[in-house]
Each structure stands twice: as structure tokens, then as C-alpha cells.
Amino acid sequence: MTTTKESAMIYFKKLFAVFTILSTSIAFAADPITIIWPSPAGGGGDIYFRIFSKVIEKEFGVPVVVSNISGGGGSIGVAKMVGSKPDGTTLAGAWTGPISIAPHTLGISYTPDDYIPVMLFSSAPYVICTLTNFPANTATELLDLLKKNPNKYSFVTHGPGGLAQLAATRVFLTFGITQRDIPYKGAGESRVGLLGGHVDMYVGSIPAILQFIQTGSVKCLLVTAAKRAKALPGTTSLSELGIAGEETLLWRAIFVPRGTPPDRTAYLEKILEVSHVHPRL
């Protein structure tokens, strides 16, 4: 784990190095940037990109607006970015779902030929969690319970054909499990579904549910990665169930429309790279 002091040193070295590059791109500096986050406010990605936008504004003086455009498992917001003017002022933050899954599961209009990936920042598993009074306390107990009771329990998804549905389905199919999926618009809303007792299982990112794990109202029984997650060291991984090949990971990245000029993309790449290693992130 990187210490705060080490993070600060990495950040300031990169900041110094990038000023020379940015001085040649001064014409871009005043252009405000809109980052479309294609999911409702309150989820882990939304929190992440809002911190990110503040860092960019403070360090580079570039106004940044985070715009939540949700629906279609993230595909509506990504389609908005794809259809925007390719001048580097409209970006989309996105995750695995609307980029690598939704084109196969939903009737959407864009393909990888319609956007340019600028930078990928992080990688993390999804988790399957329940309220603490749920009648299973380990991953094995959970899978046994679900298998013995087809369609009795429900799990949240972020819409049909999204990452949560795929992550859970890959695990469930392996063990011959069938349960009901309930679509929500994003992690922020889906955790409300769990906490309110409307669904039995949360399937989603760790940041959106972490505080409820820490306060003891939620327990997480499985991560959808081959290895255990640092934030949840007591939660079972897929390798321990013998199904490491069914790993489904959440990444976050920034995209611009195809046709964005290379010098503008290079400028964005530099400010994103420097901002990303800021100690707050």
C-alpha cells in the first residue's frame, strides 16, 4: 500500500513534469470539461469522479462539471458522449458494463469504433452482500441456500445486461442456481433496495456499500474476483470456490468521442494522469 507521503511525492513529481507539456497546450486550458457519469449520484464511481473533478479544477484551473446521465445500464450516458462534438470538452467516465457488456446484451447504437479510451484508472471486484440477518454466513452457505431454493431470493442489478447481472449470473450458473434479478439504476439506488429490505442480495461495487459493512448492517459473502479484496479481507474469493475463471471485474476509465484531435487527447491524458495520482484519490 502506498503511504500518503509517497503518494504526495509521486504526485508532485508528475505535476512538475507535466507543466512543460501543458505550456504548449495553453489554448486548451480555459476550455471547461464535462465528465458524463452514466449512473445516478451516490455510487462509488460518482464519488470518485467528483473528487477527480475537484483535483483537476484546483491544480489546472480547468472548470469541470460532472453530469449524471443514467439509464440503460450506463449506455445512455455513453451514447451521449459518443454523439457529442469531438473537441475534447465532453468526456465520459465509464466502467466495464456500458463499454464491454451492454453492446452484447442491449440494442445500443455505439461500438468500440465510436470512442477513444483515454485512460483506465482502477480495477476492483464486485461483491455479493446481504443484510446481517440473512440466513447464510459464508459463501458456501449462501450458494447452498440459493441452490436449494430456486427463485426464492432476489439480487439487485444495474439494469438487464449490465455488469452486476453478468457477475452474479456467471457464479450462479456455475452452481446451477436460479434467482430473481431486480434492476436498479445504479449502485447508489441498489444499496437502498438492500437496506430497505426490498431485495435479498446486493451485487455491486465495494465503495457504495462499505460504510454499511463497517457499521454492521451488511455482510459481504463473496467477491467476484479470483483474489480476495483488500477492503474485505474476510470475504471469500472465486479461487476458493474453484471458479477463478468466472472472475468479473469493475474498472473505471475515461473516454472521448472518436474524431477527437490527437493533441487534445494527449492534453487530456496528461492532466488525467497527474490528477489521478493526487493523494486524495
Binding site: M1, T2, T4, S7, G44, I47, Y48, I51, T96, I99, S100, I101, P103, H104, T105, L106, G107, P112, I116, P117, V118, M119, L120, F121, S122, S123, A124, P160, G161, Q165, L166, T169, R170, L173, I206, P207, L210, A229, K230, A231, L232, W251, A253, E269, E273, H276, V277, P279, R280, L281
Partner: protein
């Protein structure tokens, strides 16, 4: 890396042609996974 450390995520900075290649490969791999899971668009 305060946010990433707090939430247990891994820093994974990828860009340029390597990122394009990585995402293209994932796009095609998950297309096969979706098909196998019966989640393909109708």
C-alpha cells in the same frame, strides 16, 4: 491514493494503444461470456 486505499481498489493506470488493445480484447471475450450465459440481446 486515499480514495482507492479506503475502498480497497487497485491503482491500474493504463493508456494509449495498450489500453485500446486491452479493452478490445475484453470486449470480444465478454461477448462470448454473455452468449454462454444466455444474456445476449434478443
Amino acid at each position: 491514493m486515499k480514495f482507492l486505499d479506503d475502498v480497497g481498489e487497485t491503482l491500474e493506470l493504463t493508456k494509449g494503444p495498450q489500453l485500446t488493445k486491452q479493452l478490445n480484447e475484453e470486449y470480444h471475450k465478454l461477448g462470448q461470456v454473455v452468449k454462454a450465459a444466455g444474456l445476449s440481446k434478443k
